[in-house]
């Protein structure tokens, strides 16, 4: 069992750093390329959402990412103390976005839901948003 927490400013350039760090942290698990890609993508979605929706581009905001694993699953929690989400079920709809002018696709939530084995989100208007993503670890039968 292992865990880490990472906090950084809501600079968009920190998004790649968070992806790289999380994958470096999960290295001992020897994940498949596909699992790595899915984890990177989920993280990108959650972190970008915290930065551009939660903090609406305000660089002072702090994004908190918690990653942990045991032999069965990986848990990723991405939290912001930004504006929060008014209507979560609306936010979850594929192609729904409140930031059309920024060329957002509204697919972030759908991608997270598809790639996670377990996905949930809690949010309070004016307080912030917490996204929890879990992924089961596939134990391959290694024949060594």
């Amino acid at each position: 069992m292992n865990k880490m927490t990472l906090e950084c400013l809501a600079h968009l350039e920190n998004e790649a750093f968070i992806r790289t760090s999380a994958i470096a942290f999960l290295m001992p698990l020897n994940l498949s390329m596909e699992d790595c890609m899915e984890i990177k993508t989920m993280l990108a979605e959650a972190v970008v959402n915290a930065m551009i929706h939660g903090y609406e581009g305000n660089h002072e905001g702090i994004v908190r990412v918690h990653v942990s694993y045991d032999e069965n699953q990986i848990e990723i929690i991405v939290a912001d103390e930004g504006c929060g989400i008014d209507d979560i079920s609306q936010a979850m709809q594929p192609l729904f976005t409140s930031k059309q002018h920024l060329e957002r696709s509204g697919m972030g939530m759908t991608i997270m839901q598809t790639f996670a084995d377990d996905f949930h989100i809690t949010s309070e208007k004016g307080k912030g948003t917490v996204v929890t993503l879990r992924k089961r670890i596939q134990h391959e039968c290694v024949s060594e």
């Binding site: 968009l12 350039e13 998004e15 790649a16 992806r19 596909e34 890609m37 990177k40 993508t41 990108a44 979605e45 970008v48 551009i52 594929p94 192609l95 976005t97 920024l102 060329e103 957002r104 696709s105 509204g106 697919m107 972030g108 759908t110 991608i111 598809t114």
Partner: protein, 105 residues
Amino acid sequence: MKHQFKDGTLYFYFYGELDNLTVCNLKQICIDLIDQYQPKTVKLDFEEVSFVDSTGIGFVLARYKQLQKYHGELIICNLSKVNHRIFAMSGIFQLMKEERNGVKL
């Protein structure tokens, strides 16, 4: 990113991690090139793209809309399996065609 204009088609070749920051940095260049050439066809090549997320989908959809003004066609080329899967979630292939190695899928 590289681009090329040939026989009425504007090609964009992306590479590396096409994440939010990268897309933000490329967006205006693409918008301007499309407005400048007003091409019949735009092909977006993802062969060398190792990472794409929903920001990439938003970018492609926005270029699709931009091209509608000139009645131009948008074609997505050489998506890897995993990138295809991400794009497919959005139903984007209802709106535009996909090619692999110049052959329509």
